[in-house]
Symmetry: C2
Subunit: 225 residues, 2 copies
DNA sequence: ATTTATCTTGACCGTTTGGTCAGGTTAAAA
DNA sequence: TTTTAACCTGACCAAACGGTCAAGATAAAT
């Protein structure tokens, strides 16, 4: 980790100065923000908004607490910023649920995308879980607009499939909730699964098998293929 | 609510005194403990162990904060006590998953029992979610013994069904995780579902339909019936 | 009627919390 | 080289935190 950041001692390395147009300062800012954001995502995911402390975030980010407040005015501002990131990633996965292909292909793709997201960014999933469990105090607007609009449009697509006789007559909301629940479970309850798995995280093979099983049960369960 | 509890003023009601053998004192203790436990379950479910405050618990239980500490020595003792209750209720639902009947009947019964528990005691489910998300710091022993033993024994039962050709060859752990996830989702993410449902909690009819859909998808998904 | 055991609670304590700030360092611009 | 703008942080603060306690109130036992 050859940090761009210089310590409190003067940096005398050759080439440590100019670059172009204040690139050094910009790099410092970017690196510090990233470190703080990553630490905050983890701490908020572990303890929720109320339970998380700025001191712990600073400790994990490896910066003094005052520096956290230099980059993010308040704990709430930091939390909101991370929620935005989480939502952006969720939207990305949502985009894989288009309506341009075979229902089975689309559902498989969406389930796999969500499970991969669960594995790649478990902290984001857990943060979302905290947020909803607590009553969605910061994100009810986002859910009742962006997410709900997306969900409702997918429900229409699914109802279309049902009307065309491509799948069983299943209430689409129930199906979508099931997909949400199952895919996020592998992140949110990852610790529990780990304990059941003899205190070892799921290997890549185990996770791939789990993914395939989830796809298989759901697709067959709604009469696809 | 004709409280047994007398205020700070003297209680001069006829019949307010003896009962039998200190029954009044016992009733006071029971009522206060119940009120505190109910309040604590809610507050811990909302904020997790770290985020919850004894002041908030006292406020909701409608007793002075010092009284909370009179009945439960520490915040942690109170938390552990509630976790025990939650585990007891989980065990009750687990018992419905016996191995004495038809696989479809057993699975249906277990799924319905877990969903009913989700609806009847959403706070317990959310508290469990907090506990696991944070890393099961208080309950990893319980999970790695009681819960794991139960789960492993159910996995054996399911493998038996598969060997007998009664259902598809599905990894039993994947199936059980799916049931855990989906049934608990209706409690843990109840707020999200409520928002999707036009800001109204699911009615009894809606919930019954959801339950039936979950059962239908999973049973068909694993090739039962 | 008196004693004893339990219940009640305002006031308090040491610690942790989110947040501030003055005074310093460093890098870029002039 | 000097100036300026951005970055850094130890020390600090008021509020909130978990927990304690002495003194009083109430109910059961004697």
């Amino acid at each position: 980790m050859t940090s761009v950041k210089s310590g409190s001692k003067q940096d005398t390395r050759i080439g440590a100065k100019p670059a172009v147009n204040g690139a050094h300062k910009a790099a410092i800012r970017q690196e510090n923000e990233e470190q703080i954001l990553a630490a905050a995502e983890q701490v908020f995911a572990d303890y929720g908004f109320k339970g998380a402390t700025t001191a712990r975030i600073a400790e994990i980010a490896n910066v003094p607490k005052a520096n956290v407040h230099y980059y993010f005015s308040t704990k709430e501002a930091l939390y909101r910023r991370i929620m935005e990131d989480v939502c952006d990633h969720w939207l990305e996965a949502a985009m894989t649920f288009d309506n341009s292909a075979d229902p089975a292909v689309i559902l498989r793709g969406y389930i796999e995308a969500k499970m991969d997201l669960s594995r790649a960014r478990p902290y984001g999933s857990r943060l979302w879980a905290h947020e909803i469990i607590r009553g969605a105090k910061f994100s009810s607007d986002y859910i009742s607009t962006t997410v709900k609009n997306w969900l409702d449009s997918r429900v229409v697509v699914i109802r279309g499939w049902i009307d065309e006789g491509k799948m069983d007559d299943i209430e689409p909301y129930s199906l979508m909730y099931m997909i949400f629940a199952t895919t996020q479970h592998y992140a949110d309850f990852g610790r529990q699964i780990e304990i059941f798995n003899n205190d070892k995280p799921l290997s890549e093979e185990q996770f791939a098998e789990a993914k395939e099983n989830v796809v298989k049960i759901i697709l067959k369960g709604v009469g696809l293929n």
